[in-house]
């Protein structure tokens, strides 16, 4: 019997009030089990490294023997500056797959990221825009 694939998980501390860490662990564990794997280690970014992903990129540089990194949700790679493509590209280039448990999205190669980019970019645009809703007042005025 072959060993299940091992993954590092990375929780999202910015949404812990609505999705406590215990819940995030369950969601990630369920997702990883469907990949045929198990979580071998978990970590989080610090409040200061959420946009730079220094913790997880530092882990990748240690060349751990894992198949990939599983994040709780895509929002961990989005900010007002747009999607954090460079960090995703770096993880994939290091030979690791990247996964998002809430969205059940798996990126295994640069081609997957290229194909997924429109969704990622659209989320960055619409979430920033819809949060304020000011644009919507402008639309209503035109009706």
């Amino acid at each position: 019997v072959s060993e299940p694939l091992a993954f590092y998980s990375c929780l999202d501390t910015t949404c812990a009030r609505v999705a406590p860490q215990a819940v995030q662990h369950l969601v990630i564990a369920d997702f990883v089990s469907k990949l045929g794997g198990r979580v071998s280690f978990y970590t989080t970014e610090s409040p200061y490294s959420g946009e730079t992903h220094e913790v997880i990129l530092g882990k990748a540089k240690e060349k751990p023997k894992v198949a990939g990194f599983v994040f709780y949700r895509l929002a961990q790679f989005l900010s007002a500056k747009g999607p954090h493509i460079a960090a995703l590209t770096e993880l994939l280039a290091a030979g690791y797959s990247v996964h998002f448990a809430v969205e059940k999205v798996s990126l295994r190669a640069q081609a997957d990221l290229d194909a997924f980019f429109p969704m990622l970019s659209a989320i960055a645009h619409t979430e920033t825009r819809d949060a304020g809703r000011d644009y919507f007042d402008g639309l209503l005025a035109g009706l």
């Binding site: 999607p83 969704m119 990622l120 970019s121 619409t126």
Partner: protein, 257 residues
């Protein structure tokens, strides 16, 4: 029927497929899989779907069959793409070319007398007001074998009741009093806006309803409470969007293709 102006007036309309081939292939695949799940008696597709209750499944067995078929649709078929290909012109007339589609397939199997019905409800504003629901029967539906739907005006009146402090029951009663039971043939689909009130009555006909429902929206239109990428996949992109995303990827620090 087949009138976008009516869709605007009522908030829903029945449209005929522009191309039957993708719909026929989708239905044939669902039929081929479904008949492996019961002691199949050799009926043609329409009769198989209509008389499915004659297989005598209880509610738990029926749900197991339904979930098996949903898994098959999600894993082996391109349900959202097939429905889009069949109704492409109507979907793109409403939403444009930059489309996202629901990831999972919703399949309803409603035998006569089934008490587990979908109550009167509106998909939006929990879902986005800017997504369209495409409701596709796999065999003709009519009367209580079908779903009922309200229109913009009636839905708005019912919504006003809630806004005036009346209970949800008043909303439902107002909708159900003048709702339309859809008569939709195989090869047609009912398109409705997320904010339109609708539901399913108890099926008092002698046939089982099989229907798919699939949601589409423009990639850039406002989203409801569902996360974008946990519920939708990108289905089609315009040439302009492809150019734009190409530049954006580079500007955000990605690699050039």
């Amino acid at each position: 029927m087949d009138d976008l102006k009516t869709f605007e007036t009522k908030g829903w309309e029945i449209f005929s497929a522009d191309d039957m081939k993708p719909l026929d292939e989708l239905r044939a695949a669902i039929f081929a899989h479904a008949k492996t799940l019961v002691p199949y008696k050799g009926e043609p597709p329409e009769a198989f779907f209509d008389r499915f209750h004659e297989y005598g499944l209880d509610s738990a067995e029926l749900n197991r069959v339904r979930m098996d078929i949903v898994g098959f649709c999600n894993g082996k078929l391109r349900t959202a793409a097939s429905i889009h290909e069949a109704f492409r012109r109507k979907i793109e007339s409403l939403l444009g070319p930059d489309l996202v589609a629901q990831k999972g397939t919703n399949l309803v199997i409603q035998p006569p007398g089934d008490k587990d019905q979908s109550p009167t409800h509106r998909d939006a504003p929990v879902a986005s007001h800017f997504e369209v629901v495409v409701w596709v029967p796999l065999a003709r539906v009519y009367g209580t074998k079908s779903m009922f739907i309200s229109d913009r005006e009636r839905t708005s009146q019912a919504l006003a009741l809630i806004q005036d402090g009346q209970p949800h029951e008043a909303f439902c009663a107002h909708v159900e009093k003048q709702a339309t039971n859809l008569d939709v043939k195989y090869g047609q689909a009912c398109f409705f806006a997320g904010g339109i009130a609708h539901g399913c009555p108890m099926n008092a006909e002698k046939e089982t309803r099989w229907s798919l429902n699939m949601r589409y929206k423009n990639l850039f239109s406002p989203y409801g409470t569902k996360g974008i990428s946990d519920y939708f996949d990108v289905l089609t992109l315009s040439p302009l969007a492809k150019v734009g995303f190409g530049f954006e990827k580079q500007e955000y620090g990605g690699r050039r293709k």
